[in-house]
């Protein structure tokens, strides 16, 4: 059997059979399972394709497995409090954990705790990175979602407390889920909330682009990679598919099923807690509190397979298959450091980071550089310059082009003159 491209990773709250398990996205057959403990919701993450991290439900530690050694718990990272959500950056350099109302940021290379962000007023319910690890979005039970710039958070200057770039404060009940689209800092973010809405925002500006109102509270949300559709898991077990290509211009709309894209996947009997779409946008994975994980065909809205779990499904996600997962004798390239529990390791004096050096950006480099759109503009003008030169570079072509344009100017002038004469005639005519 050739190694699959994508795999399904799921976990439930009971943890009787396994803590988390890996399934084939097409058949639903189980590949691997990782044992020991259970994982709380939105806190299962794959670090760098080499480790699986999952926060223990109701306890203050994080379980870590090496991805190829499925049976053996590699390490327990003890945290200052119960971890409510966990997220590793896609480049594998940082790990974020929501602990009560604070967000903790660890650097993976040294295990240092770089920052504690306490801007939320209540428990953090969800954290997501953008795909280029430059920003992250956190949502809490205080109805707020915050967009942070990672580089401004890890800055060296400790006198300035890091501030989020944008505060999204339009939800009126706790935020349940966040999904970040592709395209790095130009991505769009969808936030789901118990106030029965899903809102789509722009990361770069923090503007709300769309708000969709449903009949029920929404527990989970995701896009497909092309952002054609928005999938929203309701608290009544339905999954709502909202078409994002519709031509209506209003920012606020109410969800109604219709023929062009806005439809409902029916099958779950309880809260849909997690949603994920495959890379090609054809498969939708959903996990629910009715203890099943279902795979749906997006096109036909049919359930392809479903797997029963022993408890509420807390995490279910489709991920690209990590290279090491099916090679039993492989080793992680980087050993996992010990995670520091305090902000300043030097004051601690236990010398954990001996030999390591912490690299952070100085505060001065944080000053505004050109925005991404400006950069894109520049790039475009460069490209235009190149094509201009190559197309209109030689003298012959230019002459032809110039004569063409002169011709056109002449005709235009003539038309203009006619128009003028006609109108003067019309105006000066004695009525």
């Amino acid at each position: 059997m050739s190694a699959p491209v994508e795999v399904v990773l799921s976990a439930d709250s009971a943890g009787q059979l396994f803590n988390c398990a890996v399934f084939d996205p097409h058949s639903g057959s189980e590949f691997l399972s990782y044992r020991g403990g259970n994982t709380s919701s939105r806190s299962l993450t794959v670090l760098n394709g080499e480790y699986i991290l999952g926060a223990q439900l109701g306890k203050n530690f994080i379980n870590v497995w090496e991805i190829q050694r499925k049976d053996q718990l590699q390490q327990k990272i003890v945290c200052p409090g119960i971890v409510t959500c966990l997220c590793a950056s896609p480049d594998g350099l940082y790990v974020l954990a929501g602990i009560a109302e604070a967000i903790y940021l660890w650097e993976m290379s040294t295990g240092n705790l770089l920052a504690i962000l306490s801007r939320h007023y209540q428990d953090v319910s969800c954290i997501r990175f953008t795909d280029d690890s430059s920003h992250f979005v956190s949502g809490g039970k205080d109805n707020l979602a915050l967009i942070w710039n990672l580089s401004s958070v890890v800055q060296l200057d400790s006198s300035r407390t890091p501030e989020p770039c944008h505060i999204l404060s339009r939800h009126s009940l706790p935020i349940t889920d966040i999904h970040c689209g592709l395209m790095g800092p130009q991505a769009r973010v969808a936030t789901a909330s118990l106030d029965q809405t899903v809102k789509v925002w722009e990361v770069s500006s923090g503007e709300m682009l769309l708000s969709v109102l449903f009949d029920v509270g929404i527990m989970s949300v995701t896009f497909d990679p092309c952002e054609y559709f928005l999938f929203c898991g309701g608290s009544d077990g339905n999954i709502f598919q909202v078409s994002l290509c519709s031509t209506s211009l209003s920012r606020d709309k109410t969800f109604q099923t219709d023929s062009d894209g806005n439809q409902v996947f029916k099958g779950h009997r309880n809260l849909v807690t997690c949603l994920s779409v495959s890379m090609d946008g054809t498969l939708l994975l959903s996990g629910s509190n009715d203890e099943t994980v279902r795979m749906w065909d997006v096109q036909s809205k049919q359930c392809i397979w479903s797997i029963n779990h022993k408890g509420h499904v807390t995490n279910a996600v489709i991920i690209p298959a990590p290279a090491n997962m099916f090679l039993a004798d492989s080793h992680p390239a980087v050993p996992l450091p010990r995670f520091s529990r305090h902000l300043n390791p030097s004051e601690q004096g236990d010398g954990t980071g001996s030999g390591g050096m912490c690299l952070r950006l100085g505060a001065s480099t944080q000053e505004r550089e050109g925005t991404y759109l400006e950069k894109a503009d520049e790039l475009y003008s460069l490209m235009c310059a190149v094509t201009d030169k190559s197309v209109f570079g030689d003298g012959e072509n230019t002459k032809v082009r110039v004569s063409e344009l002169e011709e056109e100017v002449k005709t235009l002038k003539k038309i203009n003159k006619d128009l003028y004469e006609f109108s003067t005639q019309l105006l000066t005519k004695p009525n």
């Binding site: 118990l194 770069s204 500006s205 527990m219 309880n270 509190n289």
Partner: protein
Amino acid sequence: MKTKKQKRQGDFQKIQLKVGKKKPKADNATNVNFRSKAIHLPEQLKHADSGPTTHRQLDIKDLLSKLHHINSNIKQGALVGLRELLSAQPTLIELHASAVLSEVAALFTDKDGSVRAAAVRLLRFIAQCISAERVAPFFPLLSAHLTCAMTHISEAIQEDALRVLDVLLEHYPGLLSQRHTVLLTNFLELISQKRKAGTGQDKSGKGGFALTISTNRSVTAQQWRLTVLLRLGSFLQAVVEERPLEEGVTSMIGLGMWAGEKGSVTSVDVSWEEHVFGKGRIQVFENSGAVPTPHSTYRLRPDSKAVAGMNKELCSAETVQGFAGTLVPLMLEIWVEAAGGDRVQTDSGHLLSAEAMALMFQILTILQLLRRLTPQRDQQDILDAWFRNSYLTDFKHHFMKNFPYGLLEVARHRKKADGKRQQQVATGTVAGGNVEPLALNVTLCQVMVTLSLRGQDHVEAEDADWLGTIRVFIRETLSNGGKLSSKHLAALLEVVWRMIVTQRSRGEAGFLYFFFFNKGLLNLKCSFSLSFRSRILARWLASLPVQLVQLCSRNPQLSAQLLETIHPAAARGNKDLLQSLQKNACSIYDPQEGSVVVLPVESQKRLVQILHFLPTFPAELLACLSQVCNTGRVSASLATMLIRTIHLRSPLSGWSSSSQDVPVKDVDYLSFFFTTLTGFSSEMLQALQDTDEDGLMPSSTLSPLSVFTTTLEQFLHHWDVVEEVCHCLDTLGSRAQCFDVIQNAIIKNLCGLVVVPDCVCAAILRCVPRLLDVNFLPSDTLLHFLSDCCLSMLSLLLQLEQSARKRDAVWEACFAAMSTVPRLLRLVLQSLHVGDLCEEELPVLAQILSLLLQHTQLRNHMMANASLLQHIIQDLTHFYGGETREQWLTDLLYCYSVTLSGHRANMGMRDIY
């Protein structure tokens, strides 16, 4: 012969005339008994084929030419005709705008009053039809004529010029405000005249103008000034509002800092079809177009037209100073006259007539507007300082002398005496007619407070006296009444804010501020921006729920504002607020008079959302909430939302991850859901047992329970609620245990009742099959009760004509119950004792049976009880003694045979294979 002679005599009879008798009329006398009339041709016979005409067949050219006629009646007629023509043919306005406008404008200065009035009417009509952009080219002409009229020697024309100004202000404030240089001096000249050069010099402090008093006006000088000042006020308002807002000008008023950052978002519309093949690139705006790119120099139209000119002229402090320098002394004089007119001093304040009050109010408004004329912050400060230097003593002397002003009530009887004159004034002073003394006083405070300077110690002492008066006034106003309108409150707030900014004595100001907090005025942004006062803030927040309870439904806007503050604070877990909220929760969510039922829908929704953040839900609160859901004073969707909230907060729902705190105890949770399910509290049910209402259907053999029919509305509301309850209970972890609990609750609370409301029956019948676990055997008591319910509902079903929805709901519930629990069907059938029935009930029974038989999915279950069924039908035919076969019996037998044969056929098929 004789006869011939006689005949001749008859022909030439002589009539004798006698004295005293009337002389008979001669036969050939001319009758002069007629009247002649001149022939008048108001309309032409010929049809003008060149265009539309009025009903007098005059086309627009005729009418326009008639405007030059010497006779004023004809001019007036032409104006009326123009109005008629233009209203009939609106397209003509666009075509002839220039001609019409110039001709009409020329008539502003006509010497005949009726012509002017007609001209103003026509102008008003035209202004409604033409937009400001289209009038712009003709506006210089219009304003020139207006200026001409305003400065006219005839006073009647001056008065009418103000009417013209009204029209223009209403429709073209932007255009008019560009003409301010001329107009402002015109205003001055309306109420005053230039001093002679000699006298102007020696009183240089008083400015170059002196008030005029003309004796031959139709109104008093005071009324005239009021009308002029009103117009001046609205004109300045237009100037201020029409100014293009520049960046960083948002803080024009003191409240600017609270305006918040509500970035208006302009959407970028891109039609992809155009760009798919085109080479043109799409301009994408940074920040989704919310903020335009600063680099763009492209302008659609150069803003050369007088906007730039105005910026040059009216934005700088110097120009405003120049104008104010002449205007303010005049206004002070007017003030003195108004205040001096009738001086009645009582302890409640200085009493004024309504007219004087309106005048004073206008003066203050104009003073405020003058200050706002300069948009830039620094310029404003310069202006403030200038005002202070030049006029503080005057203001203090005149304005503050009699500060709290009151309205003189005794002025009533005088009105009757010269009612006619009053009426004339009323037309001129529509807006300024009645000014509350409170508005006057508040505006005065605003004006005065702007004069107090920021952060300078030495001036504080000298300001102390009049600021003290203001402070006393504010405190009294706030303490003795909730009658303040929101506008006044905002104004007062601004005053207080300004005082805090300028004054160093924070203690005093802080007290005032706390007062305001107590009034629940400030929105959240301001309160959080003032978080340095955290102790006060906490106390204030904690007092909000109490206020909400006290407010009840008296002031929905204020309640909405309170909720707007409470909601985010609760969401952010503010401890003080949550404690207070918890304490008052029962009264807020009271089903009878709590805020949740009396407030409008938006606030109700917010209240339900706030519920989500409550730390705990004690049993009493849940009882309240359950009643709120069922009394029907909140909509079904809100009730659904409420139920969902409670469901989510309970640990049973499996959503909230933190296990240490349990907001909803499981016992309370289940009892809440059961109470909501039944929709009637135990007391109400108990009370129902004894009532003797007409909604009651007596119990009989066919309907073992006596059913209390609820109204359709209540039934449907409850039906929606039950749907949600079932759904929530359905998603609980252990179905068997859950059902066990529900079963016990039903047995304990409902079995044994004699009178049962129909919605309760339907709810029970609905929820039992939905919650029933396949492996769970329901108890006999429950099943008996259910069968009673079922039978009662079925017989109710047959009597229901009122609503298809209700009938469908009832039938759905019965059917679902019977098809899910086959034993229930058997019990129902067993309880049908045909022998006990009276004659009239037989058809009903037959109908019930045929209904059951007709249902395809129920058929198999019916067949399982075939023998029982056969027995019943035999009894039925036996007891029915009638000779003729009735329709119902035929129907029943037909249904029975069809069902039976179908069943047999099935059996047969099965046998074959």
